[in-house]
Symmetry: C2
Subunit: 331 residues, 2 copies
């Protein structure tokens, strides 16, 4: 029995009001080349250009800005990197201390940026026996701090959902109505928030989660209508999308609102990063490029159907980026 | 005696009307990190996101779309790369054949993209005795084609000036008024067009040309109030800004309207490219990054003065980009 109420359109709109002037309203871009490849108008929500380089700031600020008075113990979060930066920046903006539990093998740029926002970083071993969630909870309890979960929280979901609000409004401003929306899916918070807003505003829109082929927990869970886990021991270039299983709240939303899911290989993700470099001139991290990869790899027939995709983050190490853009162009 | 009339604000506005729905209205971005470094609000005109990956499409389309009937001989241009792509794409859109004279050592991505827009590429040796302009003129005469100059043409200048129009309008929409504008300068067409629009719309705005230290012809010419040449045999990472001397028309405008000029070293340009990768998540080519480099290297005191910069293009080879982002971060 789930006791937490799910966020609705009003919750996303309230989050948008809190984020006004704090988060960047990221542009909705278009590329003639991508339109020609897809055979459809493709609207690119460049959330790479968000404060902290990913969408995670939206949910973090929506959550942290609502903490009650007396939250001087600050906040604690666990994250592979983008949530860490989002929480650190939001806490700094709210004048609260932040401690972040991060995997020791997180991209160096994400670790450095998290520290750059004034947060303390506590490392755990991703492949060890230590449970990062328990470590974060113990740290929060010791410090009297609030735990800011990465996705399974109504305020986080509503904050990320402001991306969906902006897609709807920005599309309308250019006389476009997305029939299809593709968004990356890790724990599922961002796509759940977007689906909450978009299905309320655009009747009939088909929203698809995109996951790495070896971390397709949501895709399989959607098909089975129950939360399934990824087998242990797998890895992917998409460090931001390596969660073990869909969230409880996020899956309750996604199972009801999503049209389905798609998967992409790491090689397809690298090709999409290279395409974004070469044609779109955007820096997109692996996990942020999966929706673009799904289009470029032809995983869904878009012909004639206006499509919006979320490019969710751009925090990628130079070596990882250089390796992707050095690969020979596929035809 | 110069017989060609210089473009005015009305010419830039007419160009904007021709470009509506053809060129992309590129976003004016902001970065909290860059604002903090500059001590001022910095508005980033991301012309990297323009059709063909640089601003050059604007001028080329403004020119080519006005060619008289009977222009079936098509167009010929000479260019290190970005003008080539702009002309090729504009000609393709207008249904005209294009032949482009390019240096044999132009970035491979610029050559490939030019061919991708259906243009024929004719190579010349940048360090040889062959004069690219004469080669282009002979080719145009042989084919009955129109020569589309890279910068020293009123229609080209007016087309590039639509960047200035957009900066003025987009700034106003966010309650900002630039006191300072920094823009890259090669032949000077883009900054001349921007200055034409911006000085008419924002009284007192101080516009500075930014050039590579070893190709500072405009900076020195502005100081001397006469057109000076760069010494031969020099090179720079900024392949888009390697012209020998300011244009006749462009310098007539720039000498009258610009506040002055700044120079940046290749190393400062690489640092700016790395910063754009790491913080802004934008792919900027060397020549497109000089204005950003001038801010990051502290070449001008912006404190408290709202500043707009043009990041003019993103067509850079993977190896050049990888080398820039691999450099150690400067503090």
């Amino acid at each position: 029995m789930r006791s937490t109420p799910l966020p609705d359109l009003a919750a996303v709109e309230a989050a948008a009001a809190r984020l006004a002037g704090r988060a960047i309203e990221t542009p909705l871009l278009e590329s003639p080349d991508l339109d020609a490849r897809a055979g459809a108008r493709v609207l690119i929500k460049a959330e790479t250009l968000q404060r902290t380089g990913s969408f995670k700031f939206r949910g973090a600020f929506n959550k942290i800005s609502q903490l009650p008075r007396g939250a001087e113990g600050g906040v604690v979060a666990f994250s592979s990197g983008n949530h860490a930066q989002g929480v650190a920046a939001a806490a700094q903006m709210c004048g609260l201390p932040a401690a972040i539990v991060m995997p020791a093998d997180a991209p160096a740029i994400k670790i450095a940026n998290t520290k750059g926002y004034g947060a303390e970083v506590i490392f755990y071993d991703r492949f060890g026996t230590e449970d990062r969630e328990q470590l974060a909870m113990r740290t929060a309890a010791e410090r009297g701090a609030a735990l800011v979960k990465p996705f399974d929280d109504p305020d986080i979901i509503a904050g990320q959902g402001t991306i969906g609000l902006e897609i709807a409004r920005q599309s309308q401003a250019r006389d476009a109505t997305p029939a299809i929306v593709l968004a990356p899916c890790g724990g599922g918070g961002m796509i759940a928030g977007c689906a909450t807003a978009l299905t309320a505003l655009i009747p009939g829109v088909a929203i698809h989660a995109v996951e790495p082929a070896d971390f397709d927990d949501t895709v399989r869970s959607l098909a089975a209508h129950q939360r399934l886990r990824n087998p242990p021991g797998r890895t992917t270039i998409c460090d931001a999308l390596m969660g073990p299983t869909p969230g409880e709240l996020t899956f309750a939303i996604n199972d009801r609102l999503l049209a389905g899911g798609l998967t992409v290989t790491d090689r397809e993700v690298q090709s999409a990063m290279a395409y974004a470099f070469r044609v779109l001139k955007l820096v997109i991290e692996p996990g942020g490029a999966v929706a673009l990869a799904a289009i470029l790899a032809g995983k869904i027939d878009l012909r004639g159907r206006t499509t919006a995709i979320v490019c969710s983050g751009g925090n990628v190490d130079p070596t990882t980026f250089a390796a992707a853009i050095a690969l020979p162009e596929e035809t």
